[in-house]
Symmetry: none
Amino acid sequence: MTPKKILLVVCDGLSDRPVKQFDMKTPLQVARKPALDAIARHGINGTMDVIGPGIIPGSDTAHLALFGYDPHKVYTGRGPIEAVGAGIEMTKKDVAFRCNFATVDKSMHVTDRRAGRIGQGTDELAKAVSGIQIDGVRVILKEGSEHRCVLVLRGEGLDPRVSDVDPHRDGKVLLAEPIVPSAEKTAQVLNEFVKRANKILECHPVNKKRIAEGLPPANAILPRGAGGIGEIETLPQRYGMKCAAVAGVTLIKGICRLVGMDVPEVGGATGGLDTDYRAKADMALRLLDSYDFVFLNVKAADIAGHDGDFRIKVSVAENIDVMMGIILKDIHEDVVLALTCDHSTPVSVKEHSADPVPLSVSGGGGRVDGVREFDEISCASGALGRIRGTELMPILLGMADRARKFGA
Amino acid sequence: MTPKKILLVVCDGLSDRPVKQFDMKTPLQVARKPALDAIARHGINGTMDVIGPGIIPGSDTAHLALFGYDPHKVYTGRGPIEAVGAGIEMTKKDVAFRCNFATVDKSMHVTDRRAGRIGQGTDELAKAVSGIQIDGVRVILKEGSEHRCVLVLRGEGLDPRVSDVDPHRDGKVLLAEPIVPSAEKTAQVLNEFVKRANKILECHPVNKKRIAEGLPPANAILPRGAGGIGEIETLPQRYGMKCAAVAGVTLIKGICRLVGMDVPEVGGATGGLDTDYRAKADMALRLLDSYDFVFLNVKAADIAGHDGDFRIKVSVAENIDVMMGIILKDIHEDVVLALTCDHSTPVSVKEHSADPVPLSVSGGGGRVDGVREFDEISCASGALGRIRGTELMPILLGMADRARKFGA
C-alpha cells in the first residue's frame, strides 16, 4: 500500500458552547459552512479531549498533543517554543526564556512591565545586548512583537530549572534562584546578564530618544518561563515524513519548528482576524505537492472567542469555510484530511475551556459515518468516538497507511 | 468567568440489564420518569465505566472513582472507610478494621460469625472494650448496624499490612500475621486485643442475659479488612471547593468524610427503600446555597437489584424521579447537574455487575445533545461518549469553569 499524504487543519479555539441569545446554538451551528460540512459528511467524526478530560489546554501544549507528543513529558516552559518561533535554532543544551522589555528605576524597581508597549526600536535594543559573553556562556536576544523578546543562553553546564527574574507585576526585579543545585551557574549568568543589559540599555540612543519624547525607556529585560528543548524526537525522525506548516502566529511556528516541520513564510498570514485565508489555502495545497504531512493553523476564531464576540466568530467560521472550499476543490482524494481545533474558546467564557473539540477526518479511502455537519454536537455522534489529542496522530497515520505493525 | 456550582446525584445500583419478562427492557426503560428524562434532554449524555471496562465496582471504590480518586491507589481496605463512616476521626497513623461481633467456644472456635445477628446491646459491648491500651496503642471500638463494629488502633509504629483475624466462616479464630516486617507490632497488638476482648465480653452482663435467653453470646470480635487512610488529599484541598454530601448509608458517609465533605444528618434518609426522598431533595437544595459541590446518594435501587425485584426497582426509579423533580423545580440554571450510578446491580444478577452506567450532565450553559431519555441505552448515543469514573470529576469541573489550564 502506498503511504498517503496528510493535511491537518486546526482552527484555533473555534470550538464553543451553546449561547442562549442565539437559540442555544454554538457559532459553528449557526455559520453557513458547506465545505466544513462536506468534510464531516464524507468522513468519520468524533470529539477529542486535546490534553485530557477536564484539562484546559494552552495552545502550546495542545499543539504538542495534536502532533503526538505527551505534553506532560516534553513541555518544559514556553521559552524554547517562543525562541524557536522567533527563528533561533535551539540546541539541546540551550536554555531559553520569554522576556519583556520593561522600564525600571535606578534601584531596579519595575515601573512599567511593558515599557509603554514599545513597538519601535526593539530590534536595535536587542542587537545591542545580543552576543555578549558571560562566564563562557553566549547570550542571544531577539525581539518579538511589541515589548516582547526572547533570550537564549548557550554554553556548557546550563540547566533550565531557575526561577523567574520577571516579578510579573510592578515591584523589584527578582534575582533568579536555582531550583536545583545544577542550575546555579544558569542563575548566576542570568542575573549578571540582567544587570549588564540594564547598563547597556540605559544609555542606548533608542531610549534617550524615548525619554526626550516623554516615553518610558525600555531599559531592562525581564526573563521568565525558562526551558530547554531536551531530547525531542522530531516528526520526520519519528515517522519518516517530510513535514511543513502554514501558520501566522509566532508561538505556533515555534512548536512546528521544534517538532521538525518546515515553516515557510506566507504573505498575508498574520495570525489575526485579517489573515489572508486564500494565501493559506494556496500555500497548503502547494506544500502538499512536496511534503508528506502538512499542518495548517488558523488563529482568528480564538481571538473572536477571547473577545466574546459570537457574530465575529460565526464570520471567522465562514471565512475558514471559504478557505477549506479552495482546498477541497484542488486536494487529491488520496490525502487524509483532518479538521479540528486545539481547544474550545467559548464566547461565553472568553477564555480557553476544557470542553472537547469536534474532529472530522475524510479522504484517503477511509470510512464514512452518518454525520452531516461539522460542529461540537454533530461530530460527537460519529464513528471516531471520543479520543485524546495524543491519539490523533497515530489515527491519521493509520488511515494514511503509515502506521507500524505490532506482531505477526 | 465565575465558577459554577456542581450537584452530583448518584443512584446506587440503578443501572441494569434488559429483562425478558419485561419486553427486554431495563427498569429505567420501563419507569415513568419525566424529571430524569428532562435532565438527559437538556444536557449531554454518555456511559461510564466507573472503575474500568469489565471491573465490577464496589460501592466504596466506585465512589472514590466518582470523586476523582484512583481507587487502585487510595483504597487500602474497607476498614478506614467504615471507621470514618461510623464517625471516628482517623489520623494518618491509625489502622482500622471492619469487625463482626461473633460467638466462639472455649477453644476460640467460631460457632456463629454474626452472634445470632445481635442487634441490641452492641453499644454496651463496644464501650466495655473500647479505650484499653496495649503496648502503647489505644483501642477504639464502635458498634455498627446489627452484628457489625469498627476497630481503630491508634499509636506509633503501626502498619495496616496484616492478615485477617476473621476466618470468614465457622472455624478457629485466626492469628493475624504481618504481611511485611514493619507490621509485626500491629499483628501482635491485634492478636492481644482479640484475646483480651474475649475475656471481657465473656462475662459481660449483655452476654449473660443472652445466654440466659438461649441466644448465642457476642463474646468475640473478628477484625478484617485492615487499612490506613494514608495521605489522601481532600476535595477542598485539591479543588478549592466547599463540599457537602447527602447520604444515608454509613459506608457512603464514610467515603464522603474521608474526602473532606461535610455530611449533615438528614432526618428520614435511611439508606433503605423507605428513605425520605423529599427530605433528601430539600437538603441538597439547601446545601447548594452555601456549598460549591454537593453530592447526593440514593441507596434504594441497589437494594431492589440485590433482591432481584424488577417491579420494586421500577418504583424506586419513579421515586428518584419525584426527588429530582423537586430539585429541578428550584435549582439555579447555572448549577452543573450530573445524574448517574455508581455501578449496575441487574435484577437478573442480584449482584453488582461490570456493565457501564448511564450518565447525564445538564445546566451551567453546557452543550446539549439529542438524547431524550435517561437510561442505559439512550445515554450511550450521547455526546459525552464512554468515559471512565475518574474522568467524571475533571469533566464536571471543566463544565463548571473550575478546571486548570496547562500551558499558555
